[in-house]
């Protein structure tokens, strides 16, 4: 058995090259030597494994950062002013290329268009209830079964208008997510329908629906970004460490808010948006 011993000069000789080994920078013969040593030294194997894990953690954390859509728009504007600019002659090409970059980032959702400024205020309407009910009151901790949601009565019950939305949502969430409750609630003098969802690694998500007030629409807001999933435009932002994606029907605003990263939250929203929109549309008929 190998006893960890930092003073062991034999191990030290190899550990000096661990970084280069992980970066695939060692000659093939040295790599083989290294692999033989690792196979027989548990302490060196632990250290090498730990260093490899750190590389992965750093890569994942940094790669989650995504160029803001405003940057793409700003770049386009600045380059158009340049004397040698190709963009004055080829705006469409730039748009396609920019869309390709964003497609890579958001995975499978087609980008339709973007506007310039921010969509913050109208997205905050959904954030308020998520913060109030999921984050602060921690409603997600108390599991409520579908039967209990059906049997519920009074002002907090989902009621006949929204109870059928629950199985539709369940069918569109991946296996990594679970509906843990659903009710009506009030936050900031506004009434919401709220479906609570949890996922892996402590993620807490809310599907939040509220009736529009006069003049409230994403279409008139200065939107940072607009994606489309099965015909529904989705707007997104990140506020107070929570990712928000919002969409609308004629009379309702709907949101997916979570502590997931923006892309993962958008994935969930794009999966849910079509069924939620259809449900809301049926209510409006």
């Amino acid at each position: 058995m190998n006893v960890p011993d930092i003073g062991d000069r034999f191990c030290e000789k190899y550990r000096k090259y661990f970084d280069a080994y992980l970066d695939h920078e060692l000659p093939i013969e040295t790599q083989r030597d290294m692999q033989q040593h690792i196979a027989s030294c548990s302490e060196c194997a632990r250290i090498l494994d730990s260093r490899g894990r750190m590389k992965q953690l750093v890569r994942r954390a940094v790669a989650n950062e995504e160029a803001p859509l405003e940057l793409v728009a700003a770049l386009r504007g600045r380059l158009q002013l340049e004397p040698r600019s190709v963009f004055a002659r080829s705006t469409a090409g730039w748009m396609v290329a920019a869309a390709a970059v964003l497609l890579l980032a958001i995975g499978g959702i087609s980008l339709l268009r973007w506007d310039r400024a921010k969509v913050g205020e109208i997205l905050r309407v959904g954030l308020v209830d998520h913060i109030h009910c999921s984050i602060v009151a921690k409603q997600w901790k108390r599991f409520v079964s579908f039967q209990e949601m059906k049997d519920a009565e009074g002002p907090s019950a989902l009621g006949p208008e929204f109870i059928d939305l629950v199985p539709e949502v369940v069918s569109k969430l991946g296996k990594d997510y679970q509906v843990v409750g659903g009710h009506r609630c009030t936050a900031g003098e506004r009434k919401y329908v709220h479906i609570l969802i949890t996922g892996a690694n402590g993620s807490v998500l809310s599907l939040v629906i509220t009736e529009k007030r006069s003049g409230e629409t994403f279409a008139k807001a200065d939107a940072a970004s607009v994606m489309r999933a099965s015909g529904v435009d989705i707007y997104r932002d990140r506020q107070q460490d929570q990712a928000i994606a919002g969409f609308e029907s004629e009379k309702y605003l709907a949101y997916v808010v979570s502590n997931l990263d923006r892309d993962a939250n958008l994935d969930v929203a794009s999966n849910l948006a079509p069924v939620v929109y259809s449900h809301l549309h049926r209510l409006e008929l």
Binding site: E25, K55, V58, A61, N64, A67, A74, L79, K138
Partner: protein, 188 residues
């Protein structure tokens, strides 16, 4: 007088634009300021476009853009800071780490980024280029204008510092944190 080849408009878009996200991510971590990072990336593309007639098709456009970014970051720092660099003489202090703690298996991205941001810029730079962008030591050496040995040494020292900071974050915050406990509100 202009030298080089005639540039086709679509060519710049096709080879340069796909690297936008990678450049932005790196810039944000280097200057630790999203607004400045956006500005820097715009400068990179402006510089790249102006010099694109000298770019040789078939060579590594990504490495070329990153080299421009590194230079832009240096100019940015000269404008705003007296850039504090870490002298090679400080190495002996870092070498005294006796036991190498395991990097925790689960860490929040925010903690990893916060720990990374605390690593001196010269080391953070090589970590970003090697670990995130996966450039070779030779490519990084060319971008930074230093020997490959210096790249290796900075990587080794930077990663060592990062390991220590990650271990500190993990023990200070707990692994796999949940949202903060607040009990003073009721859900109506």
């Amino acid at each position: 007088m202009f030298s080089g080849r005639k540039v086709q408009s679509g060519e710049f878009e096709a080879v340069a634009v796909p690297h936008l996200n990678d450049l932005y991510r790196t810039a944000v971590r280097l200057v630790r300021d999203p607004t400045e990072a956006q500005d820097l990336v715009q400068q990179v593309y402006l510089q790249a476009w102006k010099a694109f007639h000298r770019f040789e098709p078939g060579t590594n456009c990504r490495a070329w853009l990153f080299k421009i970014l590194i230079n832009e970051v240096r100019h940015y720092r000269r404008r705003w800071f007296n850039s504090k660099t870490v002298s090679e003489g400080e190495q002996s202090l870092e070498e005294t780490l006796a036991f190498e703690p395991s990097v925790p298996e689960i860490l929040q991205d925010e903690d990893v980024l916060a720990a990374l941001d605390e690593v001196p810029r010269e080391f953070r730079e090589v970590i970003l280029l090697a670990d995130v962008q996966e450039f070779s030591y030779k490519e990084i050496a060319e971008m930074l204008g230093v020997p490959a040995g210096t790249v290796m040494s900075r990587l080794s020292r930077g990663r060592k510092q990062l390991r220590v900071k990650l271990a500190e974050y993990a023990s200070a915050n707990g692994v796999g944190r949940k949202p903060q406990e607040v009990d003073s509100y009721e859900c109506a």
